[in-house]
Assembly symmetry: C2
């Protein structure tokens, strides 16, 4: 299926719990992951939880990255959604695996926005136009 | 599989393009969707694109909601990630389908954070403890 975007859901197990509980480190790691993938950062929001854990999102010109951490279980749920052909979500995933010091890791990629479906509703779109469409990228 | 979170990826086709291109409306719809699901909003970030489209994220105490719209194709990609047993991501999805006026809709739910895996790395966690763990919810 040809698609507008790629959405990678990453499961990071057996991470370093101190890193997972450090808001500043997690925010920095997520922004670096975005840049590593070739993305342009537009904004972000991060929140620390009591007694532990961090949630945060980085909105990029090519969609977003998010993270939710459970330091008490050494676990982080990450998703990286990108559109366009320049940005590579898997580069962000690899950077995150290393930075979170995850011993176990799994991920799945979901194609988002079926181009045959969106072409059917576009007045002027063709598959090749849609394939390139990603707000300037 | 028992899991820490539920992550629903929604594909909304044949939506109202005017709604998809209206930053204020999209932000309001996403926040209402979060409340509809029973979530507590912590923060948000929304961004308008030129010539069209909106990206935005609402961070909730139970994880997040995100949206990326392609008004030119009548398409929006949404994801709703929730943890805990109180919040129902599908209530947000149903609200969004109605508000975006989507004629076609599909969604998949991915369980995040395998409890058997996280229990194995927790010093004191048990499956039932982990199952309830969601930062106060």
């Amino acid at each position: 299926m040809k698609a507008l975007g790629r959405h990678v859901l990453g499961e990071f197990y057996h991470c370093n719990p101190e890193v997972l509980n450090d808001l500043a480190k997690i925010e920095n790691i997520m922004k670096e992951a975005a840049l590593e993938s070739g993305a342009t950062i537009l904004g972000s929001f991060f929140h620390p939880f009591q007694p532990h854990g961090v949630s945060g999102v980085v909105v990029i010109a090519e969609s977003h990255l998010s993270i939710h951490t459970w330091p008490e279980y050494g676990y982080a749920a990450v998703d990286v959604f990108t559109c366009g052909k320049v940005v590579d979500p898997w580069k962000a995933l690899r950077y995150l695996k290393e930075s979170l010091q995850a011993e176990n890791f799994s991920a799945m990629e979901v194609r988002r926005g079926n181009l045959e479906e969106v072409a059917a509703v576009s007045e002027s779109g063709t598959l090749s136009q849609a394939d390139k469409a990603c707000y300037g990228f």
